[in-house]
């Protein structure tokens, strides 16, 4: 039997969405640093505005450089299309506002990035959208928390910072039984480690700032549509299936079929909310994508080596990395993440003389190669104390529920020489206990 032949991941990560510039022959993706695009005539302009023709109007809505990044991400994830956004958080907000109105409800994992946690629990309620947080390791909690007004199930592929692996096939089935899409934040895994659409997710977001960009130089996000969710059959999403007065009564499912979500998100969300990705940042993110697979392999190798070192370190009380023996999700990680479980390692530092916070502070300030900052996914190794930074707005109960203890240190393992990283950790751990 003949088999279809598609370009493979590494080829797509270098080429998808871009052909050499037809005018000048530029091989690299040009940075289209322009706000707007000249219309050949009035009719052409009107056709673009009315979604009768394809093309660019204004760079808040679309831009040729950003479009290369979007198309490449859609290709790598296996979706129908993507939208680049100003940040990962802008992607999440864009998805929520595209799917629901006041009165909407979300069921989300409680073990998520602090910014997403705040959005769900403290910001969206101001606009009449409520969220129930659940344990991602207990998929039945997702099922039990679904209400008639629930419009989205949300979780991270690998929880931040607890490193829980989401059982996507199971949670996707729960979502679909209720006619609701499952959206995952795949920032920690990237399409190299996991392609969530293959496991049943319907929408993916990334903070592209992290491993996709990979060098800590550009903020950006991306929202990707699988095209697989049946909005019509669900009957719960009037933004997809009913005439939209903002576009002369356009019905996005009737008009665009499988691309309805991504088209609505762009047509309304980028026009009205406007959290667009800049062409300069899109260019940086494209450079990151071109080396994604070789970087991720090295990230994973180093992360495994660091985790193994930490297990043996006498100053460390526990180590969390999904590939390790004893991690509660090890089998799931093996199934869903055959190329590795990312490059975040968390561990508990044994309390020295002045308590956990002070010990952690001494450790972090003693590191010489690891940088203390609020980011992950850089080529350089990074470290942070989540309880006092990224998850600072959580109270003690929320921290406990999210698995963030005061002794927890989060390490984002970079691409440096493994021995140098181990050596740096060793000396800082020793100093922390004095």
């Amino acid at each position: 039997m003949v088999e279809a032949k598609f370009l493979k991941f590494d080829t797509l990560s270098l080429h998808a969405g871009q052909h050499p510039d037809p005018i000048h022959g530029a091989r690299a993706t040009p940075i289209y640093q322009t706000t707007s695009y000249v219309f050949p005539d009035v009719d052409h302009a009107a056709s673009l505005f009315n979604l009768e023709r394809a093309g660019h109007i204004y760079s808040r809505i679309s831009n040729p450089t950003v479009a290369v990044f979007e198309e490449r991400m859609a290709a790598l994830e296996g979706g129908v299309g993507a939208i680049g956004t100003a940040s990962g958080q802008a992607s999440l907000m864009l998805a929520v506002l595209t799917l629901m109105d006041t009165g909407g409800h979300i069921v989300a994992s409680r073990n998520i990035y602090g910014g997403s946690h705040n959005l769900f629990l403290h910001t969206l309620p101001r606009f009449g959208i409520q969220t129930t947080l659940v344990d991602p390791r207990n998929p039945d909690e997702f099922r039990k928390s679904i209400l008639p007004e629930t419009r989205l199930l949300f979780a991270e592929t690998i929880g931040n910072p607890g490193l829980e692996i989401l059982d996507i096939p199971l949670v996707a089935d729960i979502a679909h039984e209720s006619g609701i899409p499952l959206m995952v934040d795949s920032t920690f895994t990237t399409p190299y480690l996991m392609q969530p659409f293959k496991h049943g997710a319907d929408i993916i977001m990334h903070s592209a700032t992290k491993w996709i960009g990979g060098h800590g130089i550009a903020i950006g996000g991306v929202l990707i549509d699988s095209g697989n969710f049946d909005w019509e059959k669900s009957g719960k999403f009037p933004t997809m299936t009913e005439p939209y007065l903002g576009y002369h009564g356009l019905d996005f499912v009737e008009e665009f079929g499988p691309s309805a979500f991504v088209m609505r998100a762009r047509a309304e969300g980028m026009r009205d909310f406007g959290a667009c990705l800049s062409p300069q940042n899109a260019f940086y993110l494209i450079q990151g994508l071109e080396t994604l697979s070789i970087r991720m392999k090295r990230h994973v190798e180093n992360a495994r080596a660091i985790a193994e070192f930490l297990i043996e370190a006498p100053e460390v009380s526990w180590v969390r990395y999904p590939d390790l023996e004893g991690h509660p999700d090890k089998d799931l990680a093996k199934k869903l993440l055959p190329n590795g479980s990312g490059s975040i390692v968390t561990f508990g530092i044994k309390s020295g003389g002045g308590g956990a916070r002070k010990t952690g502070a001494i450790f972090i300030e003693s590191l010489e190669i690891f940088s203390h900052l609020a980011n992950v996914g850089d080529a350089k190794s990074l470290v942070i104390h989540p309880a006092s930074t990224t998850h600072q707005q959580m109270d003690a109960e929320e921290l406990q529920a999210a698995g963030v203890g005061e002794e927890m240190i989060r390490v984002s393992v970079g691409l440096e020489d493994t021995a140098d990283l181990v050596s740096d950790l060793r000396q800082a751990l020793r100093l922390s206990q004095k």
């Binding site: 831009n63 040729p64 859609a74 299309g81 993507a82």
Partner: protein, 267 residues
């Protein structure tokens, strides 16, 4: 809009405008396993440029009820029943792939009612590879992959969708996968068994446009030559570096070519 055809719902997308049979009528007929959304922006463009457009969902496809029809002649007869329902006296028929066979057969049935005929991705025989046919009849998703691989030109395998942010292959696969079980297989059998293109072509009297993708692997340009020889008043337009999915691969060019052709036909 929903059309009641003897109690069975036929869905036609009208591109955001109400259907008005007093305007020139354009009927868009999709290919195997697809539905009206395949035409995307073309529907909206022509609906806002002086035509009453009906992008149909064939029976059993998209939002139309019923089972898919078994052969091209049967679908062409069904098409005329829909047109009669709408009281349209003259129509412009536009078909892609299987849709082009339906348009050709329908035009041959009632040449006097056809203002113009536009065939996109057509050949004298639309022979279906046995492995694709088997997979489609088995509702095996590998059929979607084969059509997506062979349907798009090599240039398009790298992307370059004219709608910012869309990925052609993802869209094609998702659209095929959205169909009901059995539909794609039934359509491909209908394509494979249709051998009447030349006889049909000899009956056509209206101006015809054949729109060809230079890198079409499913209906290669050379396989349209004999069909073209048997059409009177035929115009051929070839788009370079384009495969079988011309409508998706070259949205703006197809709009321009079809619009220009229709203006010349009308004058």
């Amino acid at each position: 809009m929903d059309i009641d055809l003897n109690g069975s719902k036929v869905f036609a997308h009208t591109g955001g405008q109400n259907f008005d049979p007093s305007l020139p009528v354009m009927i868009l007929i999709h290919g195997a396993g697809n539905n009206h959304t395949f035409w995307g922006m073309q529907t909206r463009y022509f609906a806002h440029h002086g035509y009453s457009v009906l992008a149909l969902d064939l029976p059993g496809h998209g939002q139309s009820n019923g089972q898919p029809l078994q052969n091209i002649s049967e679908i062409a007869s069904w098409l005329w029943k829909v047109i009669e329902c709408l009281r349209a006296s003259q129509v412009n028929l536009v078909g892609h792939s299987m849709g082009s066979l339906i348009a050709l057969e329908a035009a041959a049935m009632h040449p006097e009612k056809v203002e113009s005929l536009i065939l996109v991705g057509v050949a004298e025989r639309v022979a279906v590879h046995k492995d694709l046919l088997r997979a489609a009849l088995d509702d095996d998703p590998s059929a979607y992959d084969m059509i997506t691989d062979w349907g798009f030109g090599k240039w398009s395998h790298l992307g370059g969708h004219q709608v910012p942010g869309l990925w052609m292959q993802g869209g094609s696969r998702a659209l095929l996968a959205s169909g009901s079980p059995g539909v794609l297989g039934c359509d491909l059998v209908a394509c494979n068994e249709y051998t009447q293109t030349i006889e049909a072509a000899k009956n056509i009297t209206c101006p015809s446009l054949i729109l060809i993708g230079s890198k079409d692997r499913m209906t290669p340009p050379a396989m349209a030559e004999n069909l073209i020889k048997n059409l009177v008043n035929v115009e051929i337009q070839t788009i370079e570096s384009t495969g079988h999915m011309i409508i998706v691969e070259r949205i703006n060019e197809t709009i321009d070519i079809i619009a220009d052709f229709l203006i010349r036909v009308a004058t």
